[in-house]
């Protein structure tokens, strides 16, 4: 059966046109701007080769932002995913009221990061915030902090808020993974004497490999593109202690009028995500072959 070229063209033309004009061409423009000294406002700019990139690698604010992304990544791979895995493994067995718990843990996932940030800034507020009130009431005055205003706690505090929103996502993915494990495997391991944590880490967890790969890949991509929650809670402060790459490049473009330089940061960000994606594709394609 032969489909005419015209039919194919007619179906493809609209999505292609919209996608190329509003997604691909701005992407190309970003790469182009990254080689200019454009300020983002004036009509004139000149090409300056790779000077933005050289400047960027010398700039300590860039490295600061990148290292905050990496700290964020470590927290976001561990906290929500371990919690999600834990919840999934409990809720996978028939717990009474399991559905209600699933809904409660999944609920934050549908909220926007702006709402999430606002809600948690009340929890972390130093004077009447829930966390400090709680710590004072149980006599842990020493642990009271101005969570979002102290350099040592700020990134962790925001990560807790983000983890709250993210846990349900990994829980659901792990639940799906657990459903896919054949009952016989677990049973025969039990008969061989495996139980409790050994059973879980030696038998079940390795079988969840594909869920883990998906969960970790998404956490990695999310960690490098994180913006909304940090921007809404601290705007990167105090003293750039919570400034990540996306926040840094936004400020460079829209506050400091360094559009060209900002695009260079964007290109680096794009490349990092591209590398992660490529590795993921390799992994997941390998998984499908076997």
């Amino acid at each position: 059966m032969c489909v005419s070229k015209k039919t194919i063209f007619l179906f493809l033309i609209t999505p292609l046109a919209v996608y190329i004009f509003f997604v691909i061409s701005p992407l190309i423009m970003t790469f182009m701007y990254s080689f200019t000294d454009w300020d983002g406002v004036s009509t004139q700019f000149s090409f300056i080769g790779i000077r933005n990139f050289i400047e960027l690698f010398k700039n300590s604010f860039f490295w600061n932002a990148l290292s905050n992304n990496i700290k964020w990544l470590v927290m976001m791979i561990t906290i929500p995913n371990l919690l999600g895995l834990f919840l999934a493994s409990i809720l996978n067995e028939n717990v009474r009221g399991g559905l209600i718990f699933k809904v409660i843990f999944y609920l934050p996932t549908v909220l926007s990061y702006i709402v999430t940030g606002l809600l948690w800034s009340w929890v972390f507020e130093p004077n009447i915030g829930a966390l400090n009130l709680f710590l004072r009431s149980v006599g842990l005055r020493k642990m009271v902090h101005a969570w979002l205003a102290e350099p040592s706690t700020v990134l962790f505090a925001i990560a807790v808020a983000a983890a709250w929103r993210q846990t349900g996502f990994s829980m659901v993915l792990y639940l799906a993974g657990l459903k896919g494990i054949p009952e016989e495997i677990v049973e025969s391991a039990r008969i061989d004497g495996a139980k409790g944590l050994t059973l879980f880490w030696k038998i079940i967890f390795p079988l969840l490999k594909s869920s883990t790969i998906v969960v970790i890949t998404f956490s990695m991509i999310d960690s490098f593109t994180v913006f909304d929650i940090i921007f809404s809670m601290t705007q990167g402060g105090p003293y750039r202690c919570s400034e990540v790459l996306a926040v840094y490049l936004y400020k460079e473009a829209f506050w400091n009028y360094n559009a060209g330089y900002s695009c260079a940061v964007a290109v680096i960000l794009f490349t990092i995500v591209l590398i992660i994606t490529t590795v993921y594709m390799k992994f997941s394609l390998k998984g499908e072959e076997t």
Binding site: V3, F11, T14, P26, T30, V95, I104, L118, Y250, A253
Partner: protein, 273 residues
């Protein structure tokens, strides 16, 4: 012997975690129902002594969340329909019209899933400024539609390709054209996946913040930007901030509660196995 103990322990852990998970939401709702005075003099985390909706009034009218809310409705609905409709055309070509290069188009569209949105902020700002669409809802509709194409194309192509080809061949025998097959056979058979996509696209676009931040400043601000502005304006009035948050999350909460099982199922249909 140890079974009931274990059960009890598991329950306790679950309940403690559930309380921690619900605490910020609980706080929001109780704060939103309090007066300015009560916010200042009593512990804000206690239930309201006198329930009042004055904070909602302030947020809705004084803080102009009404405008932002309406903007978001006007942006979200056409963007959801637009992105799904446009993607369904491409997905149909990719998965139902067997032609060389179909896979290449698929990869081309789906690659967009992995583009960090912040890579685009300068060039999109410039593009819409040049088109004289800065600070209009059209800018937001276009961007949300265009950036919805990767995920919609991925989900729809994967769904379309599993519909038996025999139906299509029979229709072709009867002299039906491809538009007829798309419109009368494939789309009606895809209702479940279209439903899931509508729910997810609605949530994502409603919750989106970055496009509003770079493409609007006053007239066309969407709800999430309106909410952040409100936070700056009503810095001390947590009740107004809380009421604003409730207003901003209400549509997605409603959708979530109504379609809760699609959320938990649909997500796993989209990614991985």
């Amino acid at each position: 012997m140890n079974r009931p103990w274990k059960q009890l322990l598991i329950y306790m852990v679950l309940v403690v975690l559930a309380v921690i998970f619900l605490l910020p939401l609980y706080g929001t709702f109780v704060m939103a129902l309090k007066s300015n005075r009560e916010i200042l003099v009593r512990n804000i985390w206690l239930p309201p002594q006198h329930v009042t909706f004055s904070a909602f009034e302030s947020a809705w009218t004084e803080a102009q969340l009404k405008k932002a809310f309406i903007n978001s409705v006007l942006v979200t609905l056409p963007s959801v329909v637009g992105s799904i409709f446009i993607s369904s055309l491409g997905a149909f070509a990719i998965s139902r019209l067997k032609f060389k290069g179909g896979l290449a188009f698929y990869v081309f569209f789906v690659a967009g899933l992995f583009f960090p949105p912040h890579t685009f902020i300068v060039s999109l700002y410039k593009l819409f400024d040049w088109m004289h669409l800065y600070d209009t809802i059209y800018a937001l509709i276009i961007v949300n539609t265009a950036f919805g194409i990767p995920v919609c194309t991925m989900v729809l192509s994967n769904y379309f390709k599993d519909i038996p080809f025999s139906i299509q061949e029979a229709a072709l025998m009867d002299g039906a054209g491809y538009w007829h097959i798309y419109r009368r056979i494939i789309l009606p058979l895809s209702k479940p996946v279209l439903g899931v996509l509508i729910i997810f696209q609605f949530t994502w676009i409603w919750n989106n913040f970055i496009w509003g931040l770079i493409l609007t400043e006053s007239r066309a601000i969407p709800i999430m930007l309106g909410l952040l502005n409100l936070k700056g304006q009503y810095f001390i009035s947590w009740n107004v901030q809380a009421a604003g948050s409730v207003i901003a999350m209400l549509p997605v909460m409603f959708v979530f509660i109504a379609f809760q099982k699609y959320f938990i199922k649909g997500l796993t249909a989209g990614y991985g196995k």
